[in-house]
Amino acid sequence: MDIAPADVLNIQDIVYKTRPGRIITVNVAPGILVLLDSLLRLMQIAGARIVNINGDPLDPYVLGEAERALDAEENVLVLFAPRQEDHFPLDALRAYARFVSCRTYLIFLGSVFGQPWLGYSKNWFQKAIRALVAEAPFAIDYSRDQQLITTCPMGYLQRTGGLVSVLDDDEFADALSDE
């Protein structure tokens, strides 16, 4: 999946501003992985690393391993690229959206595509994005869509909601046993 130069700048800016401790990449091209790795090194984000996933993003084993790799990291960013055969990847978006930390991003790479067959039916990726935003605490960050050329229109989804209230009691939080 190729991305436009403007999207490289957007990704760089998001990593710089959110300083994630983990970045989950789902079917992301090797060149973008190199870019992310370089950014994390240059920005000297302590302990930060990339959790790379290739193949079926909904495979339960893969999802379990991804979750385990996050440890207790508080700041998680997700870059998601759909596979060729994922025409309407709403379930995959849901599965990875739950890993995204408050105020960071789920970036859908290549949302400009999404025309699985010739004809009038198109923008299925953006339909999946709209469906996710309708049900999950995310907002499309349109401020990142202002470039002339982007391959990720509507693809910068910022988690803006789902805040834990200070009044929410978590009776287990301090009760982890030492077993």
Binding site: G64, E67, R68, L70, D71, A72, E73, E74, N75, S101, C102, R103, G162, L163, V164, S165, V166, D168, D170, F172, A173, L176, E179
Partner: protein, 288 residues
């Protein structure tokens, strides 16, 4: 008190033009620094009294060696032995016993020297310590001079202390109100008993600024400055400052809520990982 400096304290000092000042309770030196800057400009001297300040105060004082004398003792020990001053900035131990006796000592010292008592500017004459004592060092006080206290917080409108309130790390009197309780009560009791003509003005925001002007120090210029604090324009400016302050607090609350969310979710995730690993461990152990 530093939040009052630009619009309230500085105009009073510049109008009264003191030659000697005293600051009781300097803490980080946020207020001390501009006062010492004034001293450098005018040749005034500042007596700084604070028995246990953080290191930041000494950094401030070091910049103005010729303008101050520092006393690392309690105010009630220092006041009787130093020369009377023209103006006092009083922001020390916020309880009735200390404030009342500081006022007595300041006025007694002036009387002994045959000078007019000083203008006194007080911090914390509004909530929470207007009508409630707080003790930095309660065990140093005579038990009869203090109210029962606890290290619990306060909420506006609630007399009893609560875990959910502010300043829960200080030794606060258990109840608000009643006799001999709080900074403002001490000032009122002193004013009622001393028999010296004086005027007291109170700005009831940013924890409150009190301005006590003895008749002997009153001038038309000083009266005009103090009156201007209560003008419509000044009060509107204050509304803007309070609103800005409130919005900053809300922004900080949002930041803290985001952090809380991130940490809570990370904790939940870690907990589920621990549970999964426990299950794996259990399954991997040989039976028996």
């Amino acid at each position: 008190m530093h939040r009052f400096w630009t619009r309230f304290v500085k105009p009073i000092i510049e109008t009264a033009a003191p030659r000697r000042m005293m600051e009781i309770g300097a803490e980080f030196g946020w207020n001390t620094a501009p006062v010492l800057e004034y001293c450098r400009r005018t040749g005034c001297r500042l007596e700084v009294i604070d028995p246990a300040p953080p290191p930041a105060l000494h950094e401030v004082l070091a910049r103005y060696p010729a303008e101050h004398v520092y006393h690392a003792e309690k105010s009630l020990e220092v006041i009787p032995r130093i020369a009377p001053v023209d103006l006092v900035l009083l922001d020390g131990d916020h309880n009735w016993h200390t404030v009342y006796n500081e006022l007595q000592a300041i006025y007694r010292r002036a009387a002994e020297a045959g000078t007019a008592p000083p203008i006194i500017l007080f911090h914390d004459v509004a909530w929470p310590y207007a009508r409630r004592d707080m003790y930095y060092d309660p065990l140093e006080l005579d038990p009869a001079a203090r109210h029962p206290y606890a290290d619990r917080g306060m909420l506006p409108g609630e007399s009893e202390l609560t875990e959910a309130g502010i300043n829960g790390t200080f030794h606060n009197a258990l109840y608000e109100g009643g006799p001999r309780n709080g900074v403002l009560t001490a000032i009122e009791d002193f004013q009622a008993g001393i028999g010296v003509p004086m005027a007291f003005h109170k700005l009831p925001f940013f924890n409150g600024l009190g301005i006590l002007v003895p008749a002997a120090r009153t001038t038309p210029a000083l009266e005009a400055v103090i009156d201007s604090f209560f003008s419509r324009e000044s009060l509107l400016e204050t509304c803007v400052a309070l609103e800005t302050d409130g919005m900053r607090v809300r922004a900080e609350l949002t930041v803290q809520q985001i952090r809380l969310t991130q940490r809570t979710e990370a904790l939940r995730r870690a907990r589920s990982t621990i549970e999964a690993l426990r299950e794996e461990l259990k399954a991997a152990k040989p039976a028996g």
